[in-house]
Amino acid sequence: MSGRLATILSVLCLAAAAAIGISLMLGSVPVSPVDVGTVLTGGGDPLHQALVLELRLPRTLAAFATGGLLAVAGALMQVLLRNPLADPYVLGISGGAAVGALLSMLAGLATAVVSGAAFAGALLSTLLVFGLAHGTGSWTPVRLLLTGVVVAAGWGALISFILAVAPGAELPGMLYWLMGDLSHARHPGPAWIVLAIVVLLAWPLGRSLNVLARGALQAAALGVSVRPLEWIVYLLAAVLTATAVTLAGTVGFVGLIVPHMLRLVLGNDQRIILPAAALAGGILLTLADTLSRTVIAPQQLPVGVITALLGVPVFLYLLHRSR
């Protein structure tokens, strides 16, 4: 398995480097590969430096991290809930983040506060869902899922309310935030660190997750301490999602589709799926973001539109090809 993992990760790392390179080259103003290289090694003219280092690099790195975070969170949620339809947002984490972000936008607060409020909202929602799902008895995936879906609906109502009372000038920013917007992501560093740490923490849990995917009882019979494992997985997925949402708003689709694509191609060993999802999610979102800011430039498309347009046909093809 180690050999297979190494091969898969090597291929994905090369693809990731290529995707990042393409993203740095393409934009409203074309910059040749040679110029990108010059700028990255510290040279080049000021305009190219500004374009590549100030505008494209932070955005590209943010897109990659967001995609990776969401794909890993989605893979974890699907195993946790034993439900292939689960995505990182299914338990209302994004709704809580959105309410936090929109409220701070409504109050006209600074960008950093908006991010902080989004993160706080995500964590609040996480704790709320977990506390409520626990209730007076034990929680099961179905109970957790139902609680999450209902809490998400509550957040949805609050979001609609905020949009309804928000002044017109704030609306476009809010809508772009809700659709996922990478254009404001300037400091992707923390997101990369979170992604790296969580993948490293989750990898040793991979085999236990493989067992958990077969059901809680089966897992317990095979020596897995199910409850602590589920807590850890839920917490990890929540941190991943909260980080992604804080960085880029609610980018849809990546968290649902990337784990499934990988399962169709690579099988369902979480020890392979989790690191592969970090890379493949990053690649998909980097390419999608590149397209979203170039296809109808100078206008920009929400990146979620492109992830869906890219992901749906690929996914359907893989599904059709599989047995």
């Binding site: 430096q49 500004a50 374009l51 505008l55 476009p172 254009s183 404001h184 100078p298 206008q299």
Partner: protein, 313 residues
């Protein structure tokens, strides 16, 4: 990394050199080099400084593009946003996105020495980003007719055509003063101003259109609402029973929104046929053309006054 080399936001080393060369003037008269610098306060109450009149301007709103043309600086606009369609020459200017979503790369590549931004219409974070990248930004936020005149003057200063700007501003003030003397004190006409249909939206008294309504002697029935652009239910309009309904449309010649009120035959405005249409580009854009729209509005309100029954108090 900064763009100081080609965009100057503050006196760079070379300006010091200039000061040294003009050293005697500095010592004698308090600063020739300082005189060469252009200083203007924008609507965010910040001082915008240029070493020389702007030659490469990026305008981030259709109304700002129009205002720049008014003060004779239209040919210096190197980039603007979608819907910049007036005057005709504005259509030829390269686009850098739309007001709500800017293409920072294009703006940067144009290497402008001045960016004029619309504070409530552009994404604050994107404009802040442009500033962080070293560009000089002038923030505009016209709320009153007097702001419009001020803006004309300031844009003229920034582009080195103060005389044209002063004349334009004076003309604008004069026109609005004339309208006010003629109409503002005529019998008040209770009206509802519709700027969007679904959802139904109006303006309050703080809005520029609100000021025009007052100028023409109208009384905005929803002027006291706190939001600048309140959203309403149709029922609220029916309950208020305006004497006049004025509205724009989804196009320059589309009366559908105002005519839609005819199904409520009990409304005073419908019974007296006081449903008036004003092309949105005339009144919903903060440029001197807004006074053309204001003249139309004033005449409509006069028509409505003429249609009042003889017995009315």
């Amino acid at each position: 990394m900064s763009l100081v080399r080609f965009v100057s936001t503050r006196p760079g080393p070379w300006l010091w050199l200039l000061s040294l060369l003009a050293g005697s003037a500095v010592l004698a008269g308090g600063g020739a080099a300082v005189q060469a610098e252009i200083r203007v306060t924008d609507d965010s109450h910040r001082e915008v400084r240029l070493a020389e009149p702007a030659h490469r301007i990026v305008s981030l709103s259709p109304h700002l593009t129009e205002l720049l043309f008014e003060v004779g600086a239209g040919d210096r606009i190197v980039g603007t946003v979608s819907f910049s369609d007036h005057p005709e020459a504005a259509r030829q200017i390269p686009r850098v996105g739309n007001a709500g979503q800017l293409d920072l790369e294009r703006i940067l590549a144009l290497q402008p020495d001045l960016v004029v931004a619309w504070r409530s219409g552009n994404p604050a974070r994107q404009v802040a980003r442009l500033e962080a990248l070293g560009l000089t930004v002038y923030y505009n936020e016209p709320r009153r007719l007097s702001d419009l005149a001020d803006t004309l003057e300031r844009l003229a200063v920034l582009t080195g055509s103060s005389e044209t700007g002063a004349a334009q501003a004076a003309q604008l003030r004069e026109r609005s003063r004339k309208l006010a003397t003629r109409y503002a004190h005529r019998p008040a006409v209770p009206l509802f101003y519709q700027i969007w249909d679904d959802p139904l939206m109006t303006v309050n008294d703080q809005h520029l259109i609100g000021e025009l309504i007052a100028l023409c002697g109208g009384k905005n029935l929803f002027g006291e609402l706190p939001a600048l652009v309140p959203r309403l239910s149709r029922e609220a309009v029916l309950a208020a029973d305006p004497e006049v309904i004025v509205g724009g449309g989804s196009g320059e010649d589309n009366r559908a929104w105002v005519d839609g009120w005819r199904r409520w035959s009990g409304l005073t405005a419908v019974r007296r046929d006081n449903l008036f249409f004003i092309p949105p580009s005339l009144i919903q854009r903060q440029t001197p053309r807004i006074l053309d729209g204001a003249e139309m509005l004033c005449e409509y309100l006069d028509e409505a006054r003429a249609r009042r029954p003889e017995t009315a108090p």
